[in-house]
């Protein structure tokens, strides 16, 4: 074995020493999850209350001035007819989707039943989209925690679309000057002391707006009741004076989705069937942004490591070029 080769291998081996350590080291690299902002606002979506009327979808389109959309398979012959797209998209910020099984007879049953689920931004506590955006076009409000988007900054790289564990931000691919579309919790309405349009119109209170702390308590309260107990379900904004909706407590899944998923979100989901069936993915308690930022910050902390590396490289390159000058 010639010397240069051996030295190269040694160098390479040195550079990657310790690479085989188990995932424990990954945990060490991870930074802490971010914390829920002090006045975090959010939504409690109770799938068992949802009747699939899609008032929220329409209201959202009105409030955010996005056009109606047809499902792809109807688009060619169903032009202009009101319907909803298959999922949230560049033109649809929220969507009511359905889980069905077998005969679809019973609501909120996994067997031979069906259940509705609403899909929109979950306003993560430690959002991947904010972490990955190279130009700060995704912003998380320090007080309310609402994740907003600034199209003037956005370069359209779509890393937020790719990186969001819930697949929420969507790019308008069919526009020559498209932009990223996502639920911004009707921030413009909140500025006028109104509540997000979807919660405002929901006839049953399935979408309930409020402070995350209060919503969490409300969700826990519902879970604490026995199925069949009468309960006054609030509508609109939690704590408002709107008339409540009285109904029986359904059989809930005991897991409140959105509390810890991917480092926590500001949306709470109560469902009658397992959340995976409703397209709500199983996610770890640690945010993914915490890992990617942790690794990145470890490598680039104060640019010390890259600068030190550069120093070494300059020294070595200088030495080599001097020799070459003699050669050439």
């Amino acid at each position: 074995m010639d010397k240069s080769r051996r030295r190269f291998i040694q160098g390479a081996a040195g550079a990657i020493a310790g690479a085989v350590a188990p995932m424990e080291s990954a945990k060490a690299l991870r930074r802490e999850n971010k914390q829920l902002p002090p006045n975090a606002l959010g939504m409690l979506y109770d799938s068992t209350l949802c009747i699939g009327c899609r008032a929220c979808v329409t209201a959202c389109k009105d409030a955010n001035d996005v056009p109606v959309e047809q499902p792809a398979h109807l688009r060619d012959w169903n032009v202009g007819v009101w319907d909803s797209g298959e999922d949230i998209s560049g033109k649809t910020l929220n969507s009511i989707r359905v889980f069905t099984h077998g005969t679809k007879e019973h609501k909120d049953h996994a067997e031979n039943g069906y259940a509705f689920v609403k899909r929109h931004c979950l306003h993560c506590v430690d959002p991947s989209c904010v972490s990955v955006c190279p130009v700060s076009a995704m912003l998380k409000d320090g007080d309310t925690g609402i994740v907003t988007h600034n199209p003037d900054a956005c370069i359209g790289c779509r890393y937020c679309v790719y990186g969001c564990p819930f697949g929420v931000p969507q790019f308008q691919f069919d526009e020559p000057f498209g932009k990223i579309a996502k639920c911004q919790f009707c921030e413009h309405l909140q500025k006028q002391d109104e509540i997000p349009a979807c919660c405002d119109v929901c006839p049953t209170g399935a979408s309930l707006f409020g402070r995350v702390d209060d919503l969490q308590k409300e969700a826990e309260q519902r879970l604490a009741k026995q199925p069949g107990d009468r309960y006054d379900f609030p509508r609109g904004r939690l704590g408002d004076d709107r008339p409540t909706h009285e109904a029986a407590i359904p059989e809930y899944e005991s897991h409140i989705y959105g509390v810890k998923e991917a480092g926590g979100t500001q949306i709470r989901y109560l469902t009658g069937i397992p959340h995976e069936k409703l397209g709500l993915p199983k996610l770890p308690d640690e945010s993914y942004a915490a890992l990617s930022e942790g690794v990145q910050h470890t490598l680039y902390k104060g640019m010390i490591a890259p600068l030190a590396l550069l120093g070494g490289l300059i020294y070595l390159a200088r030495r080599s070029t001097k020799q070459h000058e003699d050669e050439e």
């Binding site: 085989v20 690299l29 298959e86 560049g90 130009v135 779509r158 490289l313 300059i314 070595l316 070029t321």
Partner: protein
């Protein structure tokens, strides 16, 4: 070697293959015009689940890995001080120049809001936590560095020896940067995926993604040098560089072997044996990829096999294929956005990528024929 032996090849430029490549490029231009008038969706199959398609993965991520020849050779020649590989340096740099410049170009037509591109350079929009931000700045800087590194070829061509001499005085800083920047961003291309979490198959998702991307990028850099040198010396009947390549190959072989061993150790450490043998697309693609890595490793390490020019060529080809497949797998195959999304590039989308590659080859031909890039003389 007292004289600088880099020289232009000369010869006819508008050959038939060249015109065919031109046609491919023209088709790509047509679709690109469509893309700018009607939007990305009119040409690509990009969708809400797969916002990144082959324009990102092939043109940019694989394209820049192909452009790592200059980086890999600079690492060897200037950092490990192996002057004997110097003849391979300039063509490698040229490959890098095109790989990166065209990758950067591809970014522009893939960006949804390209007119805001300069926001990356505005400090008030900077977002240092973003891996993308680091990649973007590094790649932009490296493209600049590559042009400076390559500029002696221009200066020689136009007889600006004085300028060349001045440049040489601080070229070592540029060379150091030319090694640092690719190290940073090629690893960061792997870091791009760290945020994907459970959206990525565990066969690819590991905290070592940055290292795997860096190692394979360097290996691919050597791969492209071997491939390019073999092809060019044969095609243009130049004096062979086999002797140098034969010395280079075990380095690449052992690098690949190290990568493979580490990769499997990581998979074992994470307990991800079951997904390897699952009856699904991920496992299939994983083993194809591994096979494509193992064959060149064996060829390049084996002292018998690497004597055979053809086997070495095959090894380089497979190595580049393996590195490319690794990137396609990691970014597209292993990625499962859920919600029922699927993606396969559209024909126009493919044609654009093919057109970009065609342009790259065309430019390479122009440069080697008109500029002093290649080392060695055309036999009489």
């Amino acid at each position: 070697m007292a004289q600088d032996t880099h020289q232009p090849l000369g010869g006819e430029l508008l050959t038939k293959p060249f015109l065919f490549l031109g046609l491919l490029f023209a088709i790509a231009v047509y679709f690109l015009v469509t893309r700018f008038i009607f939007g990305l969706g009119s040409v690509t199959h990009l969708n809400g689940g797969y916002p990144w398609g082959i324009w990102v993965v092939v043109d940019v991520i694989i394209g820049t890995a192909f452009g790592c020849g200059g980086f890999a050779m600079a690492l060897l020649v200037y950092i490990f001080n192996k002057g004997e590989y110097h003849p391979l340096m300039r063509p490698a740099l040229l490959g890098g120049l095109f790989g990166y410049t065209l990758g950067g170009m591809a970014v522009i037509f893939d960006l949804g809001r390209y007119w805001n591109f300069y926001n990356l350079l505005l400090p008030w929009y900077a977002q240092p936590s973003s891996v993308m931000f680091e990649v973007a700045l590094c790649v932009m800087a490296y493209i600049l560095v590559l042009w400076i590194e390559f500029s002696p070829a221009f200066l020689e061509r136009f007889g600006l020896t004085n300028a060349k001499r001045k440049l040489k005085r601080f070229l070592y800083i540029i060379i150091a940067l030319g090694v640092l920047l690719p190290t940073l961003h090629q690893s960061s291309l792997g870091s791009l995926l760290l945020v994907m979490g459970s959206q990525l198959s565990p066969l690819w998702y590991t905290v070592w993604l940055p290292l795997w991307f860096l190692l394979t990028a360097i290996a691919m850099g050597y791969g492209i040098v071997i491939l390019e040198s073999t092809l060019v010396t044969n095609a243009f009947k130049l004096s062979s560089e086999q002797r140098i390549l034969r010395k280079l190959s075990p380095i690449v072989g052992w690098l690949l072997a190290a990568f493979l061993v580490l990769r499997f150790l990581d998979l074992l450490a994470r307990g991800q044996v079951a997904p390897m043998f699952a009856a699904d697309m991920n496992a299939l693609m994983f083993w194809i990829e591994i096979l494509m890595f193992v064959i060149p490793t064996v060829i390049l390490i084996s002292p018998v096999r690497r004597i055979d020019q053809r086997q070495m060529f095959l090894a380089a080809l497979l190595l580049l294929g393996a590195g490319s497949l690794y990137r396609i797998n990691a970014f597209l195959v292993a990625y499962a956005p859920g919600n029922g999304w699927s993606y396969f590039p559209s024909a126009p989308e493919l044609m654009v990528t093919i057109g970009v590659i065609a342009l790259e080859i065309m430019l390479y031909l122009v440069f080697v024929k008109k500029l002093p890039v290649l080392h060695g003389t055309r036999p009489a």
